[in-house]
Symmetry: C2
Subunit: 187 residues, 2 copies
DNA sequence: GTCTATACGAAGATAGAC
DNA sequence: GTCTATCTTCGTATAGAC
């Protein structure tokens, strides 16, 4: 199906160049479909396309998280960091997170921004729920989940700027240790 | 001087809309100078202007950090988070960090990207040096410094998406506690 | 040296031919 | 239902009048 191809292509361009530099023209060309088709599939225009690209990215990450978190919070967090490491390594530090890309460009894309907020919230909830299941209090679990996502996202940006994996590794090391200590204390 | 006005205006637009949506036209208009003047002051075009905007932002933050870190790492970190909180609160969650904005848009702006990497590195070094002065080992200090910056930057993005200060507060609470425990253990 | 006017390309979006 | 051609606007950048 070409519709999914278009959304996936848009997500890929967005995580590299950001939302504004992702033109519907080029997304269509990359998917091998004419420009008009894009507006047939996405009558809401760029806002709708970007929102769907964000939701696709959210689901991919959420599915991975759900799977790995079954083995415990530490495994889920490790997989989360491994995912970003692969994105960076596989693109020579040229790609990041499309969800973040949407959130840093205040523009006329309300649907996409809403999807971005929901993605962050969904991931946070998954992580927090897993932590809570392992004895961390609800409030603390929510705080830790937010810290995990914020620091990973921020580290990915720093890695891109510095063209080095070091920031992500540093952050992962710190948070792994913090997580271990926290869970050990409550078990 | 209108040159500084142009750079400051560019930085403000960049932290709101991102680099690509920041047009030289509008920057010039906002500064009250004609379009041609901008290219007179910045013959390197948009790349040069963006790079100077990033360096200006770097210096503002670095100056604040240098001042507050004299009272200790905890005070410096608190000021760092307070700064971002003010940016978010003062713009209804519509502005973030221009340094981050540049790093997430892979485009033809090598100078600006280099300035972005240097900004992150400069802030990290300041924080790491302060931590090292208070008994934290060099390696650990560098890791913690990276974590502090990455999580603050990431939290700011989450706050923008969710139009809420909660992510930044959550991250600040976690890191304040972690910092206290780390410094107490080594003193 | 400042600024007006413009060249040139690409963006989002749509109308209408097949 | 698919796609081509086009409208309109805006981007970077520059040439040349004051």
């Amino acid at each position: 199906m070409s519709r999914q191809q278009i959304v996936a292509g848009a997500a890929d361009m967005m995580r590299r160049r950001g939302l504004n530099a992702t033109s519907i023209r080029e997304v269509a060309k990359h998917a091998g479909t004419p420009l008009g088709s894009t507006y047939h599939y996405f009558p809401g225009g760029k806002d709708q396309l970007a929102a769907e690209a964000v939701r696709l990215s959210e689901e991919i990450v959420a599915t991975l998280l759900a799977e790995k978190l079954r083995q415990g919070p530490a495994e889920g967090v490790a997989a989360f960091f491994a995912l970003w490491r692969e994105v960076l390594a596989g693109t020579e530090f040229k790609a990041g997170c499309p969800v973040l890309a949407v959130a840093v460009e205040e523009a006329d894309h309300p649907e996409a921004l809403k999807a971005s907020a929901e993605a962050f919230r969904a991931w946070s909830k998954q992580l927090a729920a897993s932590l809570a299941e392992h004895g961390v209090g609800a409030r603390r679990a929510a705080q830790l989940a937010t810290l995990l996502i914020a620091s990973a996202e921020g580290a990915v940006v720093m890695c891109r700027a510095q063209r080095s994996i070091q920031p992500l590794d540093d952050v992962a090391a710190e948070l792994t240790a913090l997580l271990e200590a926290t869970i050990a204390a409550r078990t």
